[in-house]
């Protein structure tokens, strides 16, 4: 019996290898100016 359903997610450990290019959007330049929200920002490389 399958007890676990895993949603497709980005492998954070893998993202260490090619991450950190800095080209993605600064969080406060989107739709928040009073909180910090990075989890919903898109990576420029995997768009």
């Amino acid at each position: 019996m399958k007890r676990i359903k895993t949603l497709a997610t980005r492998d954070l450990k893998e993202s260490m290898k090619k991450g950190g290019c800095g080209e993605c959007q600064t969080s406060c330049q989107s739709a928040c100016k009073t909180s910090c929200t990075v989890g919903n920002q898109s990576c420029e490389k995997v768009k």
């Binding site: 019996m1 399958k2 007890r3 676990i4 359903k5 895993t6 949603l7 497709a8 997610t9 980005r10 492998d11 954070l12 450990k13 993202s15 260490m16 090619k18 991450g19 950190g20 290019c21 800095g22 080209e23 993605c24 959007q25 600064t26 969080s27 406060c28 330049q29 989107s30 739709a31 928040c32 100016k33 009073t34 909180s35 910090c36 929200t37 990075v38 989890g39 919903n40 920002q41 898109s42 990576c43 420029e44 995997v46 768009k47």
Partner: protein, 471 residues
């Protein structure tokens, strides 16, 4: 401090397990849900496989059949071996090294006008003037700011400039000329500007919309929701509400941008703890891109959120999540900014853990060209970093912000949400604790709930759409 590597919770009928350090999200049955924390604890105590099995069987024998417990355990072990459960935090040295990189500036918040035609009661800019004098940015100062950005951006290609205020449309001619100037810098310097505009909408007209639709990658339109809620906090200086003026204009903007690349953005306060109704109202008006976020205010402000408000606010997010799912099922889905989460294509771990970039990659520029760590620090003289003529003079301020990351914040180290909020807002921390490397606890509680809701929505959508994302 014990650092848990699993965050699990129940929401809207889903048992959700977040493996914090790998970012994996699992939707599990009751047996697995109960076994996972036991295994974590036993592993932390140094127990081996056989001992773990014996202990979980003993602990759960009255609740589940032995074969179900062992089956759940074997599936848990499988995920662990795949690096998707109980993954360790291996990022601290990486992030510290990452932050040691040479600083570049890639984003500016241009305070194009320290003046406003509204008198919003919660405005951190103090009705536009940031507790200083009224002023408009000159074209010359704006050009120097863009030159400063290009010069200090190293090899970054994408540069971001937000036209902010006060109300930037009070200085629209300069905005337009700065966009034209910025575009003229793109080819010779191999840069790409992303211009954005944050406006209260009062002065929007066809000419502005046409220009903005051509040149602005995003437009943020300020409105709080229901008429009575909006007009209570967002009046004109004479006291009358702004709702009736702005709604038709905002609808035109939304449609003219094909319902993309804009946000109607609101603030909720103690006056509307039922803010899900405001999100619903904006959706009913016809907006598809919606952001409504909690006010940040001094405890002495009567509209400030208080710790005792928290249970109701958390519940309201749950209501909102269900409401948005229902709309989606009815084919009337809208995008709520603070429930957006990009599980598959989200940011790399460097972005997630290194902080928002304020004071380093991201700076605010006043109308007269002074540089501050971000828009929220403008007017606080101890954070004045330099100006567009001389560049960053107070490198000590920059270095303080540079060393700010989730590992520098004790309270973030043990929080599952650190991978989604990047350690929170430095300005909020400063406002509540007088230092930038602390956290704003009430904001954190709300942030954690938003992330939980966002992940639940993903789980529900995976069910709903029957997407083949289940491994």
């Amino acid at each position: 401090m014990e650092v848990k590597v699993i965050h699990q919770y129940k929401n809207n009928g889903y048992n959700i397990v977040l493996d914090v350090n790998s970012g994996s999200v699992h939707v599990v049955d009751e047996v697995v849900y109960d076994v996972i924390p036991l295994v974590e604890e036993l592993q932390n105590n140094g127990c081996e496989d056989e001992e773990i099995k014996g202990r979980i069987l003993a602990d759960l024998k009255d609740k589940y059949a032995a074969e179900d417990i062992l089956d759940a355990y074997s599936q848990i072990v499988e995920l662990k071996e795949a690096g998707m459960l109980y993954a360790p935090d291996i990022y601290e040295n990486y992030i510290v090294d990452f932050k040691k990189r040479e600083t570049v500036v890639k984003a500016l918040c241009l305070h194009i006008a320290h003046d406003c035609n509204l008198a919003c009661k919660y405005c951190f800019a103090g009705e536009g003037e940031y507790h200083g004098r009224r002023a408009l940015m000159s074209l010359e100062t704006g050009k120097k700011a863009l030159d400063f950005l290009v010069k200090n951006s190293g090899n970054r290609v994408n540069l971001e400039v937000d036209f902010f205020g006060g109300e930037p449309l009070l200085n629209w001619q300069v905005v337009k000329e700065l966009v034209i100037y910025g575009r003229s810098l793109e080819e010779p310097y191999h840069k790409k500007f992303r211009f954005t505009l944050t406006t209260n909408g009062v002065l929007l007209n066809d000419e502005i919309m046409e220009f903005a639709n051509r040149e602005m990658a995003n437009i943020v339109l300020s409105i709080d929701g229901r008429k009575e809620i909006n007009d209570l906090m967002r009046p004109y200086r004479g006291g009358q509400g702004s709702y009736d003026t702005i709604v038709p204009k905002f609808l035109t903007v939304a449609e003219s941008r094909k319902q993309m690349n804009y946000y109607v953005r609101g603030t909720f306060t103690r006056n509307n703890p039922d803010f899900a109704k405001d999100v619903a109202h904006l959706a009913d008006l016809g907006f598809k891109q919606i952001s409504v976020e909690p006010v940040v205010a001094q405890p002495s402000d009567d509209y400030a959120l208080r710790p005792e408000d928290l249970p109701a606010l958390l519940e309201e997010y749950d209501h909102l999540a269900v409401e948005l799912l229902n709309r989606r099922k009815e084919g009337k889905g809208v995008n709520f900014f603070h429930f957006m989460i990009d599980l598959e294509g989200g940011p790399c771990v460097a972005k997630r853990l290194s902080g928002c970039g304020s004071g380093t990659e991201y700076l605010a520029v006043t109308p007269w060209g002074d540089l501050y760590p971000c828009h929220q620090f403008v007017g606080q003289e101890e954070f004045l970093m330099g100006n567009v003529d001389e560049g960053i003079v107070r490198t000590d301020i920059r270095d303080n912000f540079k060393s700010c990351n989730v590992y520098a914040k004790e309270k973030c180290r043990s929080c599952f949400a650190r991978f989604y909020c990047s350690g929170g807002c430095a300005a909020n921390s400063y406002n509540f604790h007088g230092r930038i490397d602390d956290v704003y606890e009430l904001g954190c509680e709300l942030q954690r709930k938003r992330i939980e809701c966002a992940i639940m929505i993903k789980a529900a959508l995976a069910d709903l759409e029957g997407e083949d994302k289940v491994k």
